[in-house]
């Protein structure tokens, strides 16, 4: 799976973002993380193969999320659906 790592100084949390390459809200989420120098990894799900997509879908559902983008997974436990800026800031302490 094509996971892109974005380096940042803030490495307090393990941040994984499931995004769409075409989505404006996903882009805003990436920008918020980058602007706050948060280190994170992302996958553009629309560019994935079918098998990869299925893996991601099952991962999101297993964590109690729904198939919507952006989906942010923090420290493997906290899942945030959508560009909920306040919630993301709170969870990451930024």
């Amino acid at each position: 799976m094509r996971i892109t790592k974005v380096k940042g100084e803030n490495k307090k949390h393990k941040v994984l973002l499931y995004a769409l390459s075409t989505c404006g809200w996903c882009r805003k989420t990436k920008k918020l993380l980058a602007d706050n120098s948060v280190e994170y990894e992302y996958v553009d799900v629309d560019l994935c193969s079918d098998e990869e997509y299925e893996q991601i879908r099952d991962d999101i559902i297993q964590r109690g999320g729904r198939i919507a983008f952006p989906t942010l997974i923090i420290d493997d436990v906290k899942l945030i659906t959508g560009f909920d800026e306040d919630e993301i800031r709170k969870a990451l302490g930024i």
């Binding site: 769409l20 390459s21 075409t22 989505c23 404006g24 809200w25 996903c26 882009r27 805003k28 799900v45 629309d46 079918d50 997509y53 299925e54 879908r57 729904r66 198939i67 919507a68 983008f69 959508g82 560009f83 909920d84 800026e85």
Partner: protein, 184 residues
């Protein structure tokens, strides 16, 4: 190939027709238009940039921009799911545009994201007839509406925000009941 400029002009024209504005944040707008362009290139139709399309037209039909949920979302929240179309008052007062909940019904989401249907490889081969397993009758909520000013008629849950023909406001729309007689 569709250019970004064509996508923009199409969206502008559709916004004008239906009484909407496009997202006033120019960078955000360009992202969305570029997303639409890319989806059209990939799938052959401009599906919503903020939703994952399957590549199967029958399944994605409701999320082809302008999606089936735009008018209801603009009515309730002031803008659509991806934020491309914005209601006049929201645009004029420069009200904040934030993500809104998904209106696409669970059964359509399930159909789009299930294992059986979600993959583009499921696309029916050319020349092969697509079988629709359950052709449901129109939902009870749908009804006919007509514009009292120009006579435009549409079939949907709610009357349009403005009449696409004569630009009359939605208050000019009235519900219409049609009875077909002479049939057994």
């Amino acid at each position: 190939m569709t250019t970004l400029d064509q996508v923009r002009r199409r969206a502008e024209s559709d916004a004008r027709t239906h009484g909407y504005y496009l997202n006033p944040d120019e960078d955000f707008l360009t992202d969305l238009l570029e997303g639409l362009r890319r989806n059209e290139e990939r799938y052959g139709y401009p599906s919503c940039p903020c939703r994952l399309a399957t590549g199967v037209f029958e399944i994605d039909r409701d999320i082809i921009c302008p999606c089936d949920y735009r008018d209801a979302d603009c009515e309730e929240y002031g803008y659509c799911y991806c934020g491309l179309y914005v209601r006049k008052d929201v645009a004029e007062k420069k009200l904040p545009i934030k993500p809104i909940p998904e209106r696409r019904p669970p059964e359509k989401l399930a159909r789009a994201y299930s294992k059986e249907n979600a993959t583009p490889s499921e696309k029916p081969a050319e020349g092969k007839k697509l079988t629709i397993v359950s052709e449901k009758p129109p939902a009870v909520g749908l009804k006919m509406w007509y514009c009292k000013q120009c006579g435009y008629v549409c079939f949907r849950e709610e009357p349009p925000y403005v009449c696409p023909i004569c630009k009359a406001k939605r208050e000019m729309f009235s519900g219409l009941t049609v009875r077909i007689s002479g049939q057994d």
